[in-house]
Symmetry: C2
Subunit: 206 residues, 2 copies
Protein backbone atom coordinates (compact mmCIF):
# COMPACT_ATOMS: atom_id res chain seq x y z
CA UNK A 1 0.00 0.00 0.00
CA UNK A 2 1.25 3.47 -0.88
CA UNK A 3 1.14 6.94 0.65
CA UNK A 4 -2.02 7.85 -1.25
CA UNK A 5 -3.80 4.88 0.29
CA UNK A 6 -2.54 5.81 3.76
CA UNK A 7 -3.81 9.38 3.45
CA UNK A 8 -7.25 8.09 2.51
CA UNK A 9 -7.22 5.62 5.37
CA UNK A 10 -6.24 8.33 7.84
CA UNK A 11 -9.12 10.50 6.59
CA UNK A 12 -11.47 7.56 7.25
CA UNK A 13 -9.94 6.93 10.70
CA UNK A 14 -10.57 10.56 11.65
CA UNK A 15 -14.11 10.61 10.24
CA UNK A 16 -15.30 7.52 12.13
CA UNK A 17 -14.36 9.20 15.44
CA UNK A 18 -17.89 10.67 15.15
CA UNK A 19 -19.37 7.28 16.07
CA UNK A 20 -18.36 8.08 19.68
CA UNK A 21 -20.92 10.89 19.80
CA UNK A 22 -23.91 8.85 18.64
CA UNK A 23 -26.00 7.92 21.64
CA UNK A 24 -28.12 4.78 21.76
CA UNK A 25 -31.39 4.50 23.66
CA UNK A 26 -29.98 1.73 25.82
CA UNK A 27 -27.85 2.43 28.84
CA UNK A 28 -24.70 0.86 30.25
CA UNK A 29 -25.13 -2.04 32.68
CA UNK A 30 -26.80 -0.97 35.93
CA UNK A 31 -26.38 2.62 34.86
CA UNK A 32 -28.16 5.78 33.81
CA UNK A 33 -25.51 6.63 31.24
CA UNK A 34 -26.48 6.06 27.59
CA UNK A 35 -24.16 3.88 25.57
CA UNK A 36 -22.63 5.30 22.42
CA UNK A 37 -22.22 3.44 19.14
CA UNK A 38 -18.44 3.02 19.40
CA UNK A 39 -18.71 1.45 22.87
CA UNK A 40 -21.56 -0.74 21.64
CA UNK A 41 -19.52 -1.91 18.64
CA UNK A 42 -16.56 -2.75 20.85
CA UNK A 43 -18.81 -4.72 23.19
CA UNK A 44 -20.30 -6.73 20.31
CA UNK A 45 -16.78 -7.52 19.11
CA UNK A 46 -15.86 -8.79 22.58
CA UNK A 47 -19.08 -10.84 22.71
CA UNK A 48 -18.25 -12.32 19.31
CA UNK A 49 -14.81 -13.34 20.57
CA UNK A 50 -16.09 -15.14 23.65
CA UNK A 51 -19.42 -16.48 22.31
CA UNK A 52 -18.43 -17.67 18.81
CA UNK A 53 -18.38 -21.26 20.06
CA UNK A 54 -22.15 -21.06 20.60
CA UNK A 55 -22.89 -20.51 16.92
CA UNK A 56 -25.03 -23.32 15.49
CA UNK A 57 -23.17 -23.12 12.19
CA UNK A 58 -19.45 -22.72 11.49
CA UNK A 59 -18.65 -19.01 11.25
CA UNK A 60 -15.75 -16.92 10.05
CA UNK A 61 -14.93 -15.03 13.26
CA UNK A 62 -12.86 -12.41 11.45
CA UNK A 63 -15.78 -11.66 9.11
CA UNK A 64 -18.23 -11.43 12.04
CA UNK A 65 -15.85 -9.08 13.86
CA UNK A 66 -15.68 -6.84 10.80
CA UNK A 67 -19.49 -6.81 10.67
CA UNK A 68 -20.03 -5.80 14.29
CA UNK A 69 -17.18 -3.26 14.25
CA UNK A 70 -18.58 -1.41 11.22
CA UNK A 71 -22.34 -2.14 11.42
CA UNK A 72 -23.33 1.24 12.90
CA UNK A 73 -20.95 3.51 10.97
CA UNK A 74 -23.77 4.64 8.66
CA UNK A 75 -25.40 6.22 11.73
CA UNK A 76 -22.74 8.96 11.55
CA UNK A 77 -24.89 10.40 8.75
CA UNK A 78 -28.22 8.64 9.22
CA UNK A 79 -28.51 8.73 13.03
CA UNK A 80 -29.54 5.97 15.43
CA UNK A 81 -32.89 4.30 14.76
CA UNK A 82 -34.58 2.95 17.88
CA UNK A 83 -35.49 -0.69 17.31
CA UNK A 84 -39.02 -0.34 18.74
CA UNK A 85 -39.82 2.83 16.83
CA UNK A 86 -42.69 1.65 14.58
CA UNK A 87 -42.64 4.85 12.53
CA UNK A 88 -39.27 4.09 11.00
CA UNK A 89 -37.95 1.67 8.43
CA UNK A 90 -35.26 -0.50 9.94
CA UNK A 91 -33.68 -2.09 6.92
CA UNK A 92 -31.10 -0.47 4.82
CA UNK A 93 -32.73 2.82 3.96
CA UNK A 94 -31.61 4.96 1.04
CA UNK A 95 -30.18 7.36 3.61
CA UNK A 96 -28.05 4.56 5.07
CA UNK A 97 -26.85 3.45 1.66
CA UNK A 98 -25.77 6.99 0.86
CA UNK A 99 -24.02 7.17 4.22
CA UNK A 100 -22.17 3.91 3.53
CA UNK A 101 -21.08 5.22 0.16
CA UNK A 102 -19.81 8.49 1.61
CA UNK A 103 -18.09 7.12 4.74
CA UNK A 104 -16.53 3.92 3.35
CA UNK A 105 -15.89 5.89 0.17
CA UNK A 106 -13.16 7.80 2.01
CA UNK A 107 -11.06 4.62 1.81
CA UNK A 108 -9.13 3.31 -1.20
CA UNK A 109 -11.69 1.91 -3.64
CA UNK A 110 -11.13 -1.84 -3.19
CA UNK A 111 -11.23 -1.49 0.58
CA UNK A 112 -14.38 0.64 0.42
CA UNK A 113 -16.12 -1.92 -1.76
CA UNK A 114 -15.08 -4.74 0.54
CA UNK A 115 -16.46 -3.04 3.67
CA UNK A 116 -19.67 -1.94 1.95
CA UNK A 117 -20.24 -5.57 0.89
CA UNK A 118 -19.68 -6.73 4.49
CA UNK A 119 -22.08 -4.08 5.79
CA UNK A 120 -24.72 -5.12 3.21
CA UNK A 121 -24.25 -8.77 4.20
CA UNK A 122 -24.85 -7.85 7.84
CA UNK A 123 -27.94 -5.81 6.96
CA UNK A 124 -29.46 -8.61 4.86
CA UNK A 125 -28.87 -11.13 7.65
CA UNK A 126 -28.98 -14.16 5.37
CA UNK A 127 -25.54 -15.75 5.77
CA UNK A 128 -24.48 -17.67 8.87
CA UNK A 129 -21.90 -14.98 9.66
CA UNK A 130 -24.52 -12.23 9.45
CA UNK A 131 -26.98 -14.22 11.55
CA UNK A 132 -24.45 -14.61 14.33
CA UNK A 133 -23.44 -10.93 14.16
CA UNK A 134 -27.11 -9.92 14.37
CA UNK A 135 -27.62 -12.27 17.30
CA UNK A 136 -24.88 -10.36 19.16
CA UNK A 137 -26.56 -7.05 18.28
CA UNK A 138 -29.84 -8.28 19.81
CA UNK A 139 -28.32 -9.97 22.85
CA UNK A 140 -26.33 -7.03 24.28
CA UNK A 141 -29.33 -4.67 24.84
CA UNK A 142 -31.32 -7.56 26.31
CA UNK A 143 -28.62 -8.04 28.94
CA UNK A 144 -28.48 -4.27 29.50
CA UNK A 145 -32.25 -3.83 29.88
CA UNK A 146 -32.42 -6.80 32.24
CA UNK A 147 -29.75 -5.16 34.42
CA UNK A 148 -31.56 -1.78 34.31
CA UNK A 149 -35.00 -2.80 35.60
CA UNK A 150 -36.37 -3.10 32.09
CA UNK A 151 -34.44 -0.18 30.59
CA UNK A 152 -35.94 0.87 27.25
CA UNK A 153 -38.77 -1.71 27.61
CA UNK A 154 -40.23 0.14 30.57
CA UNK A 155 -39.11 3.59 29.43
CA UNK A 156 -40.97 3.25 26.12
CA UNK A 157 -43.68 0.87 27.35
CA UNK A 158 -42.77 -1.97 24.99
CA UNK A 159 -44.61 -5.27 25.60
CA UNK A 160 -43.23 -8.81 25.75
CA UNK A 161 -44.42 -9.83 22.28
CA UNK A 162 -42.71 -6.89 20.59
CA UNK A 163 -39.49 -7.63 22.42
CA UNK A 164 -39.78 -11.35 21.71
CA UNK A 165 -40.28 -10.70 17.98
CA UNK A 166 -37.08 -8.65 17.82
CA UNK A 167 -35.04 -10.94 20.06
CA UNK A 168 -35.88 -14.17 18.28
CA UNK A 169 -33.26 -13.18 15.69
CA UNK A 170 -30.86 -14.56 18.30
CA UNK A 171 -32.25 -18.03 17.54
CA UNK A 172 -31.06 -17.73 13.95
CA UNK A 173 -27.48 -17.57 15.21
CA UNK A 174 -27.39 -19.72 18.32
CA UNK A 175 -29.84 -22.12 19.94
CA UNK A 176 -28.00 -22.10 23.26
CA UNK A 177 -27.87 -18.30 23.54
CA UNK A 178 -31.53 -18.14 22.50
CA UNK A 179 -32.54 -20.62 25.22
CA UNK A 180 -30.82 -18.39 27.75
CA UNK A 181 -32.29 -15.21 26.23
CA UNK A 182 -35.83 -16.63 26.37
CA UNK A 183 -35.28 -17.48 30.03
CA UNK A 184 -34.20 -13.88 30.72
CA UNK A 185 -37.31 -12.56 28.94
CA UNK A 186 -39.59 -14.82 31.01
CA UNK A 187 -37.80 -13.76 34.20
CA UNK A 188 -38.27 -10.14 33.18
CA UNK A 189 -42.03 -10.66 32.89
CA UNK A 190 -42.10 -12.35 36.31
CA UNK A 191 -40.09 -9.50 37.83
CA UNK A 192 -42.53 -6.98 36.37
CA UNK A 193 -39.91 -5.21 34.26
CA UNK A 194 -41.41 -6.41 30.94
CA UNK A 195 -45.19 -6.33 30.62
CA UNK A 196 -46.94 -9.35 29.15
CA UNK A 197 -50.21 -7.66 28.10
CA UNK A 198 -50.44 -6.12 24.67
CA UNK A 199 -51.99 -2.69 24.25
CA UNK A 200 -52.03 -2.35 20.48
CA UNK A 201 -53.39 1.18 20.63
CA UNK A 202 -50.20 2.37 22.32
CA UNK A 203 -47.28 3.58 20.33
CA UNK A 204 -43.75 3.00 21.46
CA UNK A 205 -42.46 6.44 20.84
CA UNK A 206 -44.26 9.72 21.19
Amino acid sequence: MGTDDLLKQVAFIKEIDKLKYIKRRTKLFKSDRHENDAEHSWHLAMMTLVLAGHSDKPIDVLKVLKMVLIHDLVEIDAGDTFIYDVSKNHTNTDEERLAAKRIFGLLPEAQANDLIAIWEEFEKGVTDDAKFARAMDRFEPLLQNKSNNGGTWTEFNVDYQKVYDKKKAIKEGSTSIWTYAEKLLNESVEEGILRKEVHPEKTYLK
Copy 2:
Protein backbone atom coordinates in the same frame (compact mmCIF):
# COMPACT_ATOMS: atom_id res chain seq x y z
CA MET B 1 -20.27 -25.11 24.65
CA GLY B 2 -22.69 -25.68 27.50
CA THR B 3 -24.86 -23.55 29.78
CA ASP B 4 -22.14 -23.36 32.43
CA ASP B 5 -19.78 -21.86 29.89
CA LEU B 6 -22.42 -19.39 28.75
CA LEU B 7 -23.09 -18.20 32.29
CA LYS B 8 -19.39 -17.56 32.80
CA GLN B 9 -19.15 -15.74 29.49
CA VAL B 10 -22.14 -13.54 30.36
CA ALA B 11 -20.51 -12.67 33.70
CA PHE B 12 -17.40 -11.60 31.76
CA ILE B 13 -19.47 -9.61 29.22
CA LYS B 14 -21.11 -7.69 32.07
CA GLU B 15 -17.85 -7.09 33.91
CA ILE B 16 -16.01 -5.61 30.95
CA ASP B 17 -18.71 -2.93 30.61
CA LYS B 18 -16.56 -1.08 33.16
CA LEU B 19 -14.00 -0.33 30.44
CA LYS B 20 -16.43 2.35 29.20
CA TYR B 21 -15.83 4.37 32.39
CA ILE B 22 -12.05 4.44 32.19
CA LYS B 23 -10.95 7.77 30.84
CA ARG B 24 -7.74 8.25 28.91
CA ARG B 25 -5.64 11.43 28.96
CA THR B 26 -6.11 11.89 25.24
CA LYS B 27 -9.19 13.51 23.79
CA LEU B 28 -11.39 12.74 20.80
CA PHE B 29 -10.42 14.35 17.49
CA LYS B 30 -10.76 18.14 17.55
CA SER B 31 -12.51 17.85 20.87
CA ASP B 32 -12.35 18.58 24.57
CA ARG B 33 -13.98 15.28 25.49
CA HIS B 34 -11.68 12.60 26.91
CA GLU B 35 -11.72 9.25 25.15
CA ASN B 36 -12.59 6.16 27.17
CA ASP B 37 -10.86 2.81 26.89
CA ALA B 38 -13.75 1.03 25.13
CA GLU B 39 -13.93 3.70 22.41
CA HIS B 40 -10.15 3.62 22.09
CA SER B 41 -10.16 -0.18 21.73
CA TRP B 42 -12.84 0.01 19.05
CA HIS B 43 -10.87 2.65 17.18
CA LEU B 44 -7.69 0.54 17.24
CA ALA B 45 -9.69 -2.41 15.89
CA MET B 46 -10.96 -0.26 13.02
CA MET B 47 -7.43 1.00 12.35
CA THR B 48 -6.18 -2.59 12.30
CA LEU B 49 -8.82 -3.48 9.71
CA VAL B 50 -7.96 -0.68 7.34
CA LEU B 51 -4.18 -0.42 7.92
CA ALA B 52 -3.19 -4.11 8.09
CA GLY B 53 -1.87 -3.89 4.53
CA HIS B 54 0.86 -1.52 5.76
CA SER B 55 2.43 -4.08 8.05
CA ASP B 56 6.02 -4.83 7.06
CA LYS B 57 5.58 -8.49 8.00
CA PRO B 58 2.66 -10.85 7.37
CA ILE B 59 0.26 -10.63 10.30
CA ASP B 60 -2.69 -12.61 11.57
CA VAL B 61 -5.38 -9.91 11.48
CA LEU B 62 -7.73 -11.87 13.75
CA LYS B 63 -4.99 -12.19 16.38
CA VAL B 64 -4.15 -8.47 16.15
CA LEU B 65 -7.84 -7.61 16.52
CA LYS B 66 -8.03 -9.74 19.64
CA MET B 67 -4.99 -7.93 21.04
CA VAL B 68 -6.31 -4.42 20.50
CA LEU B 69 -9.82 -5.30 21.67
CA ILE B 70 -8.60 -6.73 25.00
CA HIS B 71 -5.33 -4.83 25.58
CA ASP B 72 -6.74 -2.34 28.10
CA LEU B 73 -9.11 -4.64 30.03
CA VAL B 74 -6.64 -4.90 32.92
CA GLU B 75 -7.18 -1.17 33.49
CA ILE B 76 -10.60 -2.03 34.95
CA ASP B 77 -8.66 -2.98 38.08
CA ALA B 78 -5.29 -1.31 37.56
CA GLY B 79 -6.41 2.04 36.08
CA ASP B 80 -5.02 3.95 33.10
CA THR B 81 -1.30 4.70 33.14
CA PHE B 82 -0.34 7.84 31.26
CA ILE B 83 2.38 7.01 28.77
CA TYR B 84 4.53 10.04 29.67
CA ASP B 85 4.23 9.54 33.42
CA VAL B 86 7.86 8.84 34.36
CA SER B 87 6.95 7.82 37.90
CA LYS B 88 5.16 4.67 36.77
CA ASN B 89 6.19 1.34 35.42
CA HIS B 90 4.63 0.76 32.01
CA THR B 91 5.22 -2.91 31.47
CA ASN B 92 3.06 -5.61 32.83
CA THR B 93 3.02 -4.77 36.50
CA ASP B 94 2.02 -7.27 39.17
CA GLU B 95 -1.19 -5.30 39.56
CA GLU B 96 -1.98 -5.78 35.88
CA ARG B 97 -1.21 -9.48 36.00
CA LEU B 98 -3.57 -9.91 38.94
CA ALA B 99 -6.20 -7.93 37.05
CA ALA B 100 -5.81 -10.15 33.98
CA LYS B 101 -6.17 -13.22 36.15
CA ARG B 102 -9.32 -11.93 37.81
CA ILE B 103 -11.05 -10.48 34.74
CA PHE B 104 -10.22 -13.13 32.13
CA GLY B 105 -10.63 -15.68 34.92
CA LEU B 106 -14.38 -15.07 34.79
CA LEU B 107 -14.39 -17.01 31.50
CA PRO B 108 -14.24 -20.79 31.03
CA GLU B 109 -10.67 -21.85 31.79
CA ALA B 110 -9.40 -22.61 28.27
CA GLN B 111 -10.78 -19.32 26.98
CA ALA B 112 -9.29 -17.40 29.91
CA ASN B 113 -5.87 -18.92 29.30
CA ASP B 114 -6.09 -18.16 25.60
CA LEU B 115 -6.90 -14.47 26.14
CA ILE B 116 -4.32 -14.04 28.90
CA ALA B 117 -1.69 -15.45 26.52
CA ILE B 118 -2.77 -13.00 23.82
CA TRP B 119 -2.64 -10.10 26.29
CA GLU B 120 0.86 -11.17 27.43
CA GLU B 121 1.97 -11.41 23.81
CA PHE B 122 0.75 -7.85 23.22
CA GLU B 123 2.48 -6.59 26.35
CA LYS B 124 5.82 -8.21 25.45
CA GLY B 125 5.63 -6.74 21.95
CA VAL B 126 8.03 -9.27 20.43
CA THR B 127 5.97 -11.02 17.74
CA ASP B 128 5.02 -9.37 14.44
CA ASP B 129 1.34 -9.41 15.47
CA ALA B 130 2.12 -7.66 18.75
CA LYS B 131 4.38 -5.12 17.03
CA PHE B 132 1.60 -4.15 14.64
CA ALA B 133 -0.99 -3.97 17.44
CA ARG B 134 1.34 -1.73 19.45
CA ALA B 135 1.92 0.46 16.40
CA MET B 136 -1.85 1.06 16.26
CA ASP B 137 -1.86 1.91 19.98
CA ARG B 138 0.83 4.57 19.41
CA PHE B 139 -0.57 5.95 16.18
CA GLU B 140 -4.12 6.82 17.34
CA PRO B 141 -3.11 9.31 20.09
CA LEU B 142 -0.56 10.90 17.73
CA LEU B 143 -3.38 11.64 15.26
CA GLN B 144 -5.57 12.88 18.14
CA ASN B 145 -2.92 15.18 19.63
CA LYS B 146 -2.10 16.57 16.19
CA SER B 147 -5.79 17.43 15.72
CA ASN B 148 -6.00 18.99 19.20
CA ASN B 149 -3.20 21.58 18.98
CA GLY B 150 -0.78 19.23 20.69
CA GLY B 151 -3.25 17.69 23.13
CA THR B 152 -1.44 15.89 25.94
CA TRP B 153 1.96 17.03 24.59
CA THR B 154 1.20 20.66 25.36
CA GLU B 155 -1.03 19.92 28.37
CA PHE B 156 1.75 17.99 30.14
CA ASN B 157 4.67 19.85 28.55
CA VAL B 158 6.19 16.78 26.89
CA ASP B 159 9.07 17.46 24.50
CA TYR B 160 9.71 16.10 21.00
CA GLN B 161 12.36 13.59 22.05
CA LYS B 162 10.10 11.97 24.64
CA VAL B 163 7.29 11.72 22.14
CA TYR B 164 9.63 10.44 19.45
CA ASP B 165 10.97 7.72 21.75
CA LYS B 166 7.46 6.44 22.43
CA LYS B 167 6.21 6.78 18.87
CA LYS B 168 9.11 4.98 17.24
CA ALA B 169 7.41 1.74 18.26
CA ILE B 170 5.30 2.41 15.16
CA LYS B 171 8.41 1.68 13.07
CA GLU B 172 8.55 -1.85 14.46
CA GLY B 173 5.19 -2.56 12.81
CA SER B 174 5.13 -0.49 9.66
CA THR B 175 7.73 1.56 7.80
CA SER B 176 5.10 3.42 5.75
CA ILE B 177 3.01 4.43 8.77
CA TRP B 178 6.20 5.45 10.59
CA THR B 179 7.31 7.66 7.68
CA TYR B 180 3.96 9.42 7.88
CA ALA B 181 4.06 9.59 11.71
CA GLU B 182 7.54 11.17 11.66
CA LYS B 183 6.27 13.77 9.19
CA LEU B 184 3.39 14.60 11.54
CA LEU B 185 5.81 14.98 14.46
CA ASN B 186 8.03 17.34 12.47
CA GLU B 187 5.01 19.35 11.37
CA SER B 188 3.91 19.54 15.00
CA VAL B 189 7.27 21.06 15.98
CA GLU B 190 7.00 23.58 13.12
CA GLU B 191 3.45 24.49 14.16
CA GLY B 192 4.63 25.05 17.74
CA ILE B 193 2.37 22.34 19.24
CA LEU B 194 5.31 20.07 20.16
CA ARG B 195 8.38 21.70 21.66
CA LYS B 196 11.78 20.70 20.35
CA GLU B 197 13.88 21.83 23.33
CA VAL B 198 14.48 19.44 26.17
CA HIS B 199 14.18 20.63 29.74
CA PRO B 200 15.29 17.57 31.67
CA GLU B 201 14.55 19.20 34.99
CA LYS B 202 10.87 19.29 34.18
CA THR B 203 8.59 16.45 35.04
CA TYR B 204 5.69 15.49 32.86
CA LEU B 205 3.14 15.09 35.55
CA LYS B 206 2.79 17.06 38.72
